[in-house]
């Protein structure tokens, strides 16, 4: 759920700014947040548990919604709802820390690299650097909560995947994520052809590292290959990339339901959380079934592992997305192949 589109930062590569998403429904109200949990519980009665992931903008700017969700969740059995939040970590209050801990939130903390890297792109609206404050946030999360913390870095021109990996691995985070910036137009941070080649090289090295970690009976801290490797292990292909519209939904600040918060509302609106009978669930299923498969995907050997790519990104940067997905799939196959003689060892990717 995008609890607000407002943000205290002006990251140079951010997508929200360019999508005109701020406006009349800039922040989800407390009442709407409460109704959201009730609507999800009623509409998704066929599932055992629901994860609500707070997004934005910067979700910590809408503390009322966070508080309302935490309070409402207490009305349900503990296993009904789990929570996650993606945050820039710059405005974490003591009270927010308490709520994150009490709700056992999984926290995705945006932290690109050391100060000279992070602060190049991630500054406040007033142009102030933020690295010091984000590190203080990480320290507080580790010292005062039991939250799972994922460090998330944006790989971009002048900041390679291997550098982002090394930096995040040096931090006290449980898992890491380092994905390349997606340039929808010419921006300074966009990856050049040479940068993409370097990314590929670093991704292959990451694959080697994951193999080494599995050999040492250690769960890889960068888990980007996990789902694909486990699909190979299970012998099951998948027809979706992310389950948008079927297993996952996006809720906007005003309560509109989309298959994903990143999709344009026009043409993708499934309904509203206040809709009688939760029609958005069935609308989502129809949306997922009707989603056209790109011509390039038909007959692609990786379709079962890829699922056709991200429905939000493919329409805007399909070529580079396809290449990135193919590389990831190829390396996942390599990891799987390495353990062909002892496939049960791959179960560590599932925590077994």
């Amino acid at each position: 759920m995008a609890s607000t589109w407002a943000c205290n930062l002006r990251c140079s590569y951010c997508f929200v700014d360019g999508r005109g998403l701020s406006g009349a429904a800039a922040a989800m109200s407390r009442a709407m947040a409460e109704r959201l949990l009730d609507a999800l519980d009623a509409g998704l009665s066929h599932v055992e548990s629901i994860c609500v992931h707070l997004y934005g903008g910067e979700p910590l700017l809408n503390f009322a919604a966070l508080e309302a969700l935490a309070a409402r969740a207490a009305n349900y059995p503990p296993e009904r709802f789990s929570f996650a939040i993606t945050t820039n970590g710059v405005c974490l209050s003591d009270r927010a820390l308490e709520l994150l801990d009490a709700g056992a939130f999984a926290v995705v903390l945006s932290l690109d690299g050391p100060p000279e890297v992070h602060d190049r792109c991630r500054r406040t609206a007033a142009g102030e650097p933020t690295h010091t404050r984000v590190m203080a946030c990480l320290e507080a999360l580790r010292a005062r909560t039991r939250c799972l913390v994922r460090g998330s870095s944006v790989v971009r021109r002048g900041w390679r995947l291997r550098e982002a990996q090394a930096y995040l691995r040096s931090l006290p985070v449980d898992c890491i994520k380092a994905q390349p910036v997606r340039a929808l137009g010419p921006i300074p941070e966009a990856l050049t052809r040479a940068d993409y080649a370097a990314y590929h090289e670093d991704l292959e090295a990451l694959g080697d590292q994951v193999i080494d970690e599995i050999e040492r009976e250690t769960a890889p801290r960068d888990d980007r290959f996990n789902a694909r490797v486990l699909r190979l292990l299970a012998g099951e292909g998948g027809t979706t990339f992310c389950g948008a519209g079927d297993a996952s939904f996006g809720v906007l600040p005003g309560g509109e339901v989309l298959p994903c918060v990143l999709l344009p509302a026009e043409g993708n609106r499934l309904g509203h959380i206040d809709d009688e009978g939760a029609g958005w669930v069935e609308a989502g299923r129809r949306w997922a079934e009707a989603r056209p498969l790109r011509a390039e995907c038909r007959g692609c050997a990786e379709l079962g592992l890829c699922g056709g790519g991200c429905p939000a990104l493919m329409p805007v940067c399909a070529e580079s997305e396809c290449v990135l997905n193919q590389w990831t799939c190829e390396i996942a196959r390599r990891i799987y192949g390495h353990f062909r003689a002892a496939p049960e060892r791959l179960l560590i990717l599932a925590g077994a």
């Binding site: 486990l230 299970a234 389950g243 049960e344």
Partner: protein, 81 residues
Amino acid sequence: MSATTGKKANRQLILQALTDPKFRKQLADDPEAALGSGKLSEARRREVALVLATVKGIQAQISAVGDQLLCANGGCGIAKA
């Protein structure tokens, strides 16, 4: 049985249940028959339950491979238009 041997045995069971739908169903419906053993101890039944729960978790995990920047696992990173 050592801890390592036990872990390996459970992984083998998980793998079999994951890759063999018939075995998985039998393990859920009639674990004694599935395992070819007599009456199961309580500890063994708990292990079977854990195996089935693990397989269910894996099936949920592989239902989506979304790992892009703005997926549920992600942070921001798409450049503005």
